[in-house]
Each structure stands twice: as structure tokens, then as C-alpha cells.
């Protein structure tokens, strides 16, 4: 955190930045692997979503807010939450429209399943993708919101300004 004072954005030194850059794509690939192999091995959409979001959060920590937000899809993270929820609701509710119980999976037991490598094309996997999007959106979205709030705070006070005293906060002078 050597440059913290100078830039006010919490940017780290060269080593964490190199590691963050090196780890970004492999972490995303690992997340996709956890998602794809969820039905055959340890892991599911939830773990995959957290791994992917940690990769993005690492960029926030290493490069600061402005650099990290240049990454594609980061700006859409908040919307991912609701796209994921919508996918989950559709997987739950569509069978009802077709006259089957809630969360009935297609293809049914014993029926033929199309495989793409380890990936099975079945509706629970689609639900898992929804969970992935939602968890990714949650983690990246909340870190983004916190980062924005910190940035606004620093803009308001100036990066080098001392923190306000307790008595000022008690009077409501901070907001």
C-alpha cells in the first residue's frame, strides 16, 4: 500500500499487480471449469461465481477502481443478479406451465442427455448458471458499490484530509 497516500485509491505495488494480472484469466477459466464440471465433481454454480468474482475483486485491490472498471462485463455485474434470478425463476416455473411439478427437470430420468464434454445439457445446469450469474453479480456488485462510496467520500473530503472527528459525525456533519 505504498502509493495509497499519493493516489488515494489504494493501488498496490508492482508485485501484487503482476500477480493479479497473471491470475485473472486462469481464475476465470477455473470458475468456468467448476461450473461445467459441477454435475460430475466437487463445486457448483455458487463456488464458480465466487471464484470468478474474486478474480475481479483482485483487480480492484491491485489496480484500483478506475482501472478495474475498464474490464468488460464488470459494469453489468449488478444486472447479472437479476438475470440470474430470472433464469432461476424460469427453470422453476416453466414446468408448471407445461403441466409438470415445479422444478421438474428435462430431460427426465433415463432419457437421453446431450453431452458437450463433461457439460450436460439439462435444466438443473441452466439453474446452476443462474446461481453463478447471481453470485458473481452480488460479490462484484457489492465491492463496486463500496469502492464507489469510498471514492465519493474521498472526493468529498479530499484524499489527504484527516478523518473527521467523532463529534462531527455525531452532529451529522459527515453526510
Amino acid at each position: 500500500m505504498r502509493n495509497t497516500k499519493k493516489t488515494g485509491t489504494g493501488v498496490m505495488g508492482i508485485l501484487p499487480r503482476t500477480v493479479a494480472k497473471l491470475l485473472f484469466l486462469p481464475a476465470l477459466v477455473a470458475a468456468v471449469a467448476i461450473l461445467v464440471k459441477g454435475y460430475a465433481q466437487t463445486g457448483d454454480g455458487f463456488s464458480a461465481g465466487v471464484v470468478a468474482s474474486l478474480a475481479v475483486v483482485l483487480q480492484y485491490l491491485a489496480f484500483g477502481r478506475q482501472e478495474a472498471e475498464k474490464l468488460p462485463l464488470v459494469g453489468l455485474a449488478g444486472k447479472g443478479v437479476f438475470v440470474g434470478l430470472l433464469i432461476g425463476l424460469l427453470v422453476a416455473a416453466l414446468p408448471v406451465a407445461l403441466g409438470d411439478p415445479v422444478f421438474n427437470h428435462y430431460p427426465g430420468p433415463g432419457a437421453h442427455v446431450v453431452y458437450l464434454g463433461t457439460l450436460e445439457l439439462i435444466t438443473p445446469v441452466l439453474f446452476d448458471v443462474g446461481v453463478f450469474l447471481l453470485v458473481f453479480g452480488f460479490a462484484v456488485g457489492s465491492v463496486r458499490a463500496i469502492a464507489h462510496a469510498i471514492a465519493r467520500e474521498e472526493e468529498y473530503r479530499g484524499p489527504d484530509a484527516d478523518d473527521l472527528g467523532v463529534e462531527d459525525v455525531a452532529k451529522g456533519g459527515r453526510r
Binding site: G38, Y39, A40, Q41, T42, G43, D44, G45, F46, S47, V50, V51, S53, L54, V57, L61, A77, G78, K79, V81, F82, G84, L85, G88, V91, A92, V102, F103, H105, P109, G110, V113, E120, I122, P124, V125, F127, D128, V131, L134, V135, G137, F138, A139, G141, S142, V143, R144, A145, I146, H148, A149, I150, E153, D163, L164, G165, V166, V169, R174
Partner: protein, 233 residues
Amino acid sequence: MYKGGIQGLNRLSDYVHRGEVRDLRSRVAAILVPAGLLVGAGILLTPTVEAYRVGEIKTRDLPLLLALVAVAVAAVTATFTRRHVSLALVLSSAGFVLALVYAFFGAPDVALVAVLVETVVTLLLLGTSKLIPYKVLRSQADLPLGGKRWRRIFFSSVAGAFAFAVVWGALSQPAAETTVAEEHIRLAPEAHAKDVVTAILADFRGLDTLGEITVVALVVLGIATLLNRGRLP
């Protein structure tokens, strides 16, 4: 007589209500104390002859025991830690070692999720503590503990002892009736799944998962309202 009884009950109810709504701690206590009393009465009044058994400790359990000792040390340290950042780190280290315990227990799915959740929660805790001015954090950490130290130690020891008795009792007498777990394992291949945990989460108990992810979506809305003036982050 009747009128006096009603008035007395009314006064008692007012007294309890005033105590309950005083602050967050008394609200939590209003839930935990009755629950603790009921559990304690249950433990003390039921016949407990041979209900608590001490299993034998094998050499292969040593790593598990070591990890549990580390969890205990981290948990006790958390009660002494005053600074917010150190508190976040101590709590997350307890969580990380618990993940190790799950791994030793043969639950890789739970261990993976525990490690990931601990990492994200620690980052979020550190991020939110950055939002609070340093002076406020420091003055809170320097607040005196108050003179009721022994009362707190007494309450936490009693609570810990009862929790220990409940867990011990549950582990000594596993429920005899068969659970749905075997059914889930048997049906996993029919749901085209090789990992039964994922099959349960996304298929058998999908409705539970849907409820949980809805809660997460609501949390995002809450964060957007609090920090982002209602705009999605």
C-alpha cells in the same frame, strides 16, 4: 382480584418490552435467553443416563483435532480483539480453519464453499470498515468494556456449556430413523448427476436454493439503496 391481575400482567409486559427494545443487545438477548432457558430445562429434566457417550480417539483423527483446537483458539482470540480490522482477520481465520475441518471430515463441497465465502466476507468487512472514518473506528475500539465483565463471562460460559451439551447429545445419539440422504444418493444418477451435492442444490432441493438466491438478490437491492442511491452497482 381480576382487575389487579390484569394490571399486574400489563405492568410486567411493559417492563419486559422496555427491557427488550432498549438496544440491539437486549433484543438479541430477548431471543437467546428464553431459548437457552428452554434448552437448559430440557437438558436438566430429561433422563440422561448413558445419553452422553465419549467415543475413542484414533490416530487418524489427530489432524481433525488439531484443526478444532485452532478454531477454538481463533474463537477465543476474537473475544479479546478490539480493533475492527484485526477482528475481521481473526474471525476469518476461524472460518478458514473450519473449512479445513470440513475437508478432513470428507465434505469437499462444503470446504470449497467455506473457503470462498470466508474470503469474500473478509474483503467485504475490510471494505466496509474503510467507509467508516478511522477516528470513529478507533474511538469505538478504545471504549471501556464496562464493569459487568464477570456477568458477561458467566453468561457466555453458561451458553457455551449448554451448546456443548446439545451438540454432544446429538452426536452421541444419532437419529435412528433413516434420512432422505440415502434416497438422494440413490436418485442422483437418475437426475443425470455424478456429484450428489450439486444434484441436491440445483435439482432435488432447487426450491430451497431459489429462496436463498432471492435473499441474495434482495441484499444487492439493499446495498444499492444504502450506498448507491438506489442505482444498481
